[in-house]
């Protein structure tokens, strides 16, 4: 049986770990490598590094950070932010990432998704969607959740799957950093893409993980609650397990 995944989300800016609220702000939490090692030791299932301002400044500095991290972190790592070409993706994979995440560049040139998938395989291509509630649906945003794209999440999630994405990493902008639980309606909504979905934005306590699992996602991303030690992985896993959700138990 496929296990429900717990993913530590590390938003990066200038090689420092930051924590935003509703995807805004640059409050520094600390050294990302140190946090990655901590989550690795605690038995997190995956880590995702997102350079949240890479597209804003038109640059890409994640590879260097990955180099520093991956020598002693063995948890699978997804890295994204500023990936615009197959070469950018290659640089991240060479630096030790297992998957690459892409948002802004895919919005601008959707064919990039196919190029990445053909080169590295769909399993290595995560499309990140920053979703903002608009009326009855959601709109995709790019450039660190600053820029509306005019793309409806309902269409976009299906399109990226057809173009070869292997996974969706979906953040509810309105929930991010707020701690009121995941947007489970959004989670169910993007399930139509028929590829694995990780939902992000809003986790604060174990019951939020159960709600997300029941909404049909295959994993959840946790940031602030882990960075500020408000919750332990053990507690989340125990709660999930008690609710009948299969999880991997760290030894």
């Amino acid at each position: 049986m496929i296990k429900f995944r717990l993913i530590a989300r590390l938003d990066i800016r200038n090689e420092r770990l930051i924590k935003t609220i509703r995807c805004e702000g640059v409050r520094v939490v600390g050294d990302p490598a140190e946090y990655a090692r901590r989550y690795d030791a605690a038995g997190i299932d995956e880590i995702i590094y997102l350079d949240v301002v890479a597209s804003l400044y038109g640059r890409n500095g994640l590879a260097r950070l990955l180099d520093k991290t991956t020598s002693d972190v063995f948890t699978p790592i997804t890295a994204g932010g500023g990936v615009r070409t197959v070469d950018d993706g290659m640089a991240l994979l060479r630096a030790g990432a297992d998957k690459i995440a892409v948002n802004t560049a895919a919005i601008r040139r959707p064919a990039l998704i196919t190029e990445l998938a053909e080169k590295f395989g769909s399993q290595a291509v995560v499309v990140q969607i920053d979703a903002k509630r608009k009326g009855n649906g959601w709109e995709a945003y790019c450039e660190g959740a600053r820029q509306a794209t005019g793309r409806r999440v309902s269409d976009w999630c299906v399109e990226v799957a057809e173009r070869g994405a292997g996974e969706l990493f979906v953040t509810a902008i309105d929930r991010e950093g707020v701690g009121t639980g995941f947007d489970t309606a959004l989670a169910s909504h993007v399930a139509r893409a028929n590829i694995p979905v990780v939902i992000a934005g809003g986790f604060n306590e174990p019951k939020h993980a159960i709600e997300a699992a029941q909404a049909g996602v295959s994993g959840i991303a946790i940031a602030g609650a882990l960075h500020y030690s408000r919750v332990s992985l053990r507690d989340i896993r125990q709660a999930l397990s008690a609710a009948g959700v299969p999880v991997r138990f760290a030894a």
């Binding site: 609220i21 509703r22 805004e24 702000g25 640059v26 409050r27 903002k132 600053r146 820029q147 509306a148």
Partner: protein, 411 residues
């Protein structure tokens, strides 16, 4: 919203004719950029030192290392204790519901045990997000007295301010300053606490950099930009846009209370930023956590930020005209202070400026034009009138900071 005609065709003709004969604004002809941030010497009242560093950066430097903040906080407690037994309210806080004013009100109330009465000067045209943040702020537990000035008079003033000073936002700026003083006088409150001293923090007059407050006379001198409500009203009356009596009564809250009234009441206007390190980023987190503040759904036009100055549909034009007059747009202002706060490098800031600074605001343009009683062609004529000739080659800036900051990363 329905916006009726501002005035008769005759008045409109008189105003256009008079405005077309304006002299060009005077600012330094040689354009220089601060070597630490990205602001230029075109910013009104800013001072550069012999090393080419602007007064705002020097002030930020001093705040980082040259100030005993414990001592300042003790001073703050003394000031607050001086009025603590006044009642039922003991301090007025000018409040929009934005992150900065929410931080001031919340901190004074919850950290220092004050009983603030918040004074809100309504935006010229509320944005949805601005209104929501204001309501959330009130519901988080604050008493607020709001002034919603006569809408027609506000529009007349905004239009005249646009024609004659290249800034439709002036009536808001006047009222935002004056209204809290009226509230204080009427409710018998002696102390007003605002956020930061904008002149010191963002570059301008440096005379109060080391002062906790400004005296009554300084306000008129510094803030009225050589215009002031009376001057604007003078133009209005001379063009028969309103009668003298009408104008005087309908702008009484835009105008500072008389010097004597302020002196007699012993009114003190302090900046919290003098007593505590002032940090807009931190204010955002504080307001998001305590007063229900939400950033805008997308970045503001002309900049990258989602959380600053977002409650008035007119403020896009305010920043846009700053860009035309001084070559310094909204992104430059935002990025300059984030450099000083240690959140951006100069290269990052230059890249952002290149990308966003010259963006003409269109999101609320149609409504702004209705509000101001003009069409887009007339607005563009006014824009061209305010493009300073030493800064512009047609629509291209002659001196841009991103052409000077050497960086391969600022692509």
């Amino acid at each position: 919203m329905n916006y009726p005609a501002l005035w008769s065709n005759d008045v409109e003709r008189r105003i256009r004719k008079k405005a077309s004969n304006l002299d060009e604004q005077v600012s330094p002809k040689d354009v220089r950029f601060c070597r630490v941030c990205i602001i230029s010497n075109q910013r009104p009242r800013i001072v550069f030192d012999a090393d080419g560093v602007c007064s705002a950066c020097r002030y930020a430097e001093r705040k980082r290392s040259g100030i005993d903040w414990n001592k300042r906080e003790n001073e703050l407690r003394r000031v607050l204790d001086g009025v603590r037994d006044d009642g039922p309210y003991n301090v007025v806080v000018p409040c929009s519901g934005g992150k900065d004013s929410a931080f001031v009100a919340h901190t004074l109330k919850h950290k220092y045990g004050m009983r603030p009465l918040c004074a809100t000067w309504a935006p010229l045209i509320y944005t949805d997000i601005g209104r929501r943040n204001f309501d959330s702020f009130v519901h988080s537990g604050f008493d607020v007295v709001t002034a919603t000035p006569n809408g027609l008079m506000n529009r007349k003033m905004a239009r005249l301010a646009l024609e004659f000073y290249g800034d439709p936002f002036l009536p808001f700026i006047y009222g935002q300053l004056a209204w809290p003083m009226h509230v204080a006088l009427r409710f018998g409150i002696r102390l007003i606490f605002a956020g930061e001293n904008g002149e010191a923090t963002y570059g301008g007059d440096t005379s109060a950099n080391d002062l906790p407050s400004w005296d009554a006379a300084e306000w008129e001198r510094i803030y009225m930009k050589g215009a002031g409500v009376r001057k604007l009203l003078g133009i209005s009356v001379a063009s028969e846009a309103c009668s003298k009596e009408e104008g005087a009564s309908q702008t009484s809250f835009h105008s500072l209370p008389s010097f004597d009234a302020r002196q007699q009441a012993g009114l003190q206007f302090h900046w919290l930023g003098y007593y505590l390190p002032w940090h807009p980023q931190a204010n955002f987190y504080h307001a998001a956590e305590h007063t229900g503040f939400e950033p805008n759904e997308a970045r503001s036009e002309g900049t990258y930020s989602r959380y600053a100055s977002l409650d008035d549909k007119l403020d896009g034009l305010h920043y846009w005209f700053g860009y035309l007059k001084f070559g310094l747009g909204r992104c430059t202002s935002d990025a300059a202070h984030e450099i000083r706060d240690g959140e951006l490098t100069r290269e990052e800031a230059a890249a952002l400026v290149k990308r966003y600074d010259g963006e003409r605001p269109t999101r609320h343009l149609a409504e702004c034009l209705d509000y101001l009683g003009i069409d887009d062609a007339h607005l563009q004529m006014i824009e061209n009138r305010f493009r300073a000739s030493h800064l512009w080659n047609g629509q291209t800036l002659k001196h841009a900071v991103y052409d000077q900051v050497p960086s391969d990363r600022a692509a």
